[in-house]
Amino acid sequence: MIDKTVASLAEAVAGIKDGATILVAGFGAVGAPDELADALIEQGARDLVIVSNNAGNRSNGLAGLIIAGRVRKVICSYPRSTDSTAFDDAFKAGKIELELVPQGTISERMRCAAAGLGGFYSPVGVGTKLAEGKELREIDGRAYVFEKPLKGDVALLKADRADRWGNLTYRKSARNFNPTMAMAADLSIVQVREIVQLGALDPEAIVTPGIFIDRVVAVGGRR
């Protein structure tokens, strides 16, 4: 029997290794797996490379990992926000590395890894600082930069509902990076509001099929 549900947050993040590349979903605070990130602090893994759109808010989730000194590098599109002090302080102190990637390029590079492709040519960033050092190629008269797949050892995700197979649905704009990151990691872990019976999710409306998910933990929360 397939049962990907686990009983606790500690069990959900068990076994994550030092030095792991961790995809952390969310756009700002929305759709961000804060409880899983908190559990990862407890779990103790360090020297992490984080792939995320932002770099954490206040002291929640990802910001907590940074404050705890567990993050070696952040690959993201937009580290700054009004309350991104954890990252800002670590960055100014030279304690954290930053690799800036355009937002659509981050998600496309993760999808590329998920799809088993070796890379793609993107028009985004051509002629800018962020394309420096990258292979340039003209295809049918337009200039492109070569982008490589971006894969995670682990993905930390947040969804609304799940079943024991790991099928997922989301709420509104909390979907954001979750479905792509779910596909792009070796170990995909999701926190959900609610676990439902197998067969209760509409097969036409499942956004992330369970094949991409390894562990599911219910954390409750608002609907």
Partner: protein, 223 residues
């Protein structure tokens, strides 16, 4: 001579959005455009975090925490709106599916280069977000900005001094003084605020300006 207010710049840009257009509004000044769509036009607003049919900000306290816009403020969805994931949101942007991307700018060059993502302020970590994707992908990129910086330096330049967001993409610029088209003929003044002559506008502009034969006064209503 009376320069336009920020709301008037947004009003002017809104008048040019045809009924049925799909539009992404950048953070800041472009966001105001949504408030000035002429009656009877149905415009579908896209948000990079996975929304088509972005509606107005809900009354304070009535928003759904899972529904935010690209600026991470509370948002709403109009009837006919849809949610999707980040990679699809950027497929729409990069793949030329949006009719207009309206962006803010630090600088625009006479060949349509855009600089709007970093001033290289050493006190802050840089952030690019979706700026490069939005500048590279829409069917047409238009800019809304003040004609000069706070200390009077021109923003419409022969060449950008800040790092580029994208090269050769801007087709139209709405400022507090003029509406400018950028094309094979260079920078063409289509509208100027009343009481301002071409020489006076040129004095505030580094790029060489040409006056369109059919130029008109830029005269928004009081807002």
């Amino acid at each position: 001579m009376k320069p336009l207010s920020r709301r008037q710049i947004a009003w002017r840009a809104a008048q040019d959005l045809e009924d049925g257009s799909y539009v992404n509004l950048g953070i800041g000044l472009p966001t105001l455009v949504a408030d000035f769509i002429p009656d009877g036009r149905e415009i579908v607003f896209h948000s990079e975090n996975g929304i088509l049919g972005l509606g107005k900000a809900p009354p304070p306290g009535e928003g759904d925490p899972d529904l935010i816009n690209a600026g991470k403020g509370a948002a709403s969805l109009v009837p006919g709106g849809a949610f999707f994931h980040h990679t699809d949101a950027f497929l729409m942007i990069r793949g030329g599916h949006l009719d207009y991307s309206l962006l803010g700018a630090f600088e625009v060059s006479e060949t349509g280069d855009l600089a709007n993502w970093t001033t290289e302020d050493p006190d802050y970590p840089p952030g690019v977000g979706g700026a490069m994707d939005l500048a590279a992908g829409a069917k047409e990129v238009r800019v809304l900005c003040e004609h000069t910086t706070k200390d009077g330096q021109p923003r419409i330049r022969q060449r950008c001094h800040y790092p580029l967001t994208a090269a050769g993409v801007v087709r139209r610029v709405y400022t507090n003084l003029a509406v400018l088209d950028i094309g094979p003929a260079g920078v063409v003044v289509r509208e100027m605020v009343e009481g301002l002559g071409l020489a006076a506008l040129q004095a505030k502009t580094e790029a060489r300006l040409q006056l369109a034969d059919d130029w008109r006064p830029l005269a928004p209503p009081p807002l």
